[in-house]
Symmetry: C2
Subunit: 227 residues, 2 copies
C-alpha cells in the first residue's frame, strides 16, 4: 500500500538520510530535494546523491539558491567553522544559516506542489532545536499553515503535513532508528568542513555529535574521520 | 525620524516599485532583494536595478534560486505565456510559480535577519489574490508567524511584520498611489514576456492589467508596448 507521495529534504547528512528512510518505510513514494546553497561543505551534495541511490529514490533534484548573496553564516561565509567547542547547543551557533529551514521548506513546498504531494519530510531534531530556532516544533507546525495557505493545492482544500520523524530523538536515538531501517550511513556526510569527499574533520559540532551518537548507540561508525 | 530598517522584495515591476516607495515614504531605511529565479522575463532584473537607483536604495541584492529545477510554471518552463486572455484572474494561471511568495518571503526573511530588520515589504495585491493563492492576506499573516518562529531574532522576542501596502488596491489605485509618491514608472517592467529591455509585449495578463491600470487612473503610461 502506498501512503501517497512525500517530498524529503535530503542534505546528505545522517539525519536527513534517516528521515528519508522513515518515509520509505512508512509507505510513501518518496522524491528528494537537495539544496545547493553555496555551503562550504560541498561534498554533502555528493553524499545526498549517494544516499538517494542507496534508498532507491529515483526522483532526486538539486536546487541552487545562492544564500551567499545575503551572507550571515559560517557555512556560507569566510568565517571559520568552530572546532572543538566545549559546549554544543547552548546558543545559536555561527553555523546557523539565516532562516534556513524557512527557505528550505519553502522550496520543498514548491517541489511538493509540482509533484502533487502534501507530505513534507525534514530531518529536524531536538539536538539542533536547542541551537537552531527553525528546528522547533512550533516553527514546523506554523509552516504547515503557510504551505496550505500559499499553494494552489491548499486553496483547493488540501492540508500539508510537515513530518519530522526524528524531532524528539537524540543523535544516538537517530542512529539506532536508522540502523533498524538499514540506512547505509557510510553514504552520509555530516561534517561542516570536510577535508575531502566522504571524510569527516572530526572536530566541528556536526562531527562531534555524529561520533558521539554512534558511540552512545553502540553501533559501529562507518565514517572516516581525519582526526 | 527613521522607522527602522525594512527589506523589500523588488521584482522591477510596477507593484514592487510602489511598495518600495511606500516603505521609503513611511520612513524606513530600505534595503531591497530581487530574486533571479530563472524567469523568462530576465529584463525584469535590470528593471529592478533601475528602480532601486531611482528610489535611492543603496543596498540592493539579487539572489539566484533556480526554480527551473522543480518546474511547474510558464514563467520558468517552456510553456507559452498566455496572451490576449479573455478573463484574467478567474483561476490560478499557468504563470503561477509554485509556492513563489513562500520562497520569496523566506529569502526575504533571511535577508532581514542578516540586516537586523523585522519589517518585510511585498507588493502583493488583491488583483493577484484572485488568481495567486500566495497573495492572500491570511497567507501573509501566517508567514509572519513562521518568520518569528524560524529566526534568531524571533527567538529573542522580535516580531516580524509583513507589510503589503497595496493589498487592497486595484491596479489603478496602485498607479495613483505611486504617482503621489513620484514613482518613476518608466523604470519598471511588468511584462511576463518582454520582447526587449524595457519593452512590454502588451498582450500578456501583466501588460494588460498594467495598461488598464494607467488608463483607469487617468495617468499617462510611460511604458513602451510592442502591440
Amino acid at each position: 500500500m502506498i501512503a501517497g507521495r512525500a517530498v524529503v529534504l535530503l542534505s546528505g547528512g545522517l539525519d536527513s538520510a534517516t528521515a528519508a528512510a522513515w518515509a520509505k518505510a512508512a509507505g510513501f513514494e518518496v522524491a528528494a530535494l537537495s539544496i545547493d546553497y553555496g555551503q562550504r561543505h560541498r561534498f554533502e551534495l555528493e553524499a545526498a546523491g549517494r544516499v538517494a541511490r542507496a534508498l532507491g529514490i529515483a526522483d532526486h533534484r538539486t536546487i541552487a539558491v545562492d544564500l551567499r548573496a545575503i551572507g550571515g553564516s559560517a557555512l556560507t561565509d569566510a568565517t571559520a567553522v568552530p572546532k572543538d567547542r566545549v559546549a554544543i547547543g547552548a546558543d545559536v551557533p555561527v553555523t546557523y544559516v539565516p532562516a534556513r529551514n524557512t527557505v528550505f521548506l519553502a522550496l520543498l513546498t514548491g517541489f511538493a506542489e509540482v509533484l502533487g504531494a502534501t507530505d513534507l519530510v525534514i530531518g529536524a531534531n531536538v539536538q539542533d532545536y536547542s541551537g537552531y530556532p527553525d528546528c522547533r516544533p512550533e516553527f514546523l507546525h506554523a509552516f504547515e499553515t503557510v504551505a496550505r495557505l500559499g499553494t494552489r493545492a491548499g486553496v483547493e482544500g488540501a492540508k500539508f503535513t510537515v513530518h519530522a520523524p526524528l524531532l524528539h530523538l537524540s543523535k544516538a536515538g537517530i542512529v539506532r532508528f536508522g540502523a533498524s531501517l538499514n540506512v547505509d550511513y557510510a553514504a552520509t556526510l555530516s561534517c561542516y568542513d570536510p577535508p575531502a569527499a566522504f571524510v569527516h574533520c572530526g572536530r566541528c559540532d556536526a562531527c562531534r555529535l555524529r561520533r558521539a551518537g554512534f558511540a552512545e548507540a553502540g553501533i559501529p561508525d562507518p565514517s572516516r574521520y581525519e582526526s
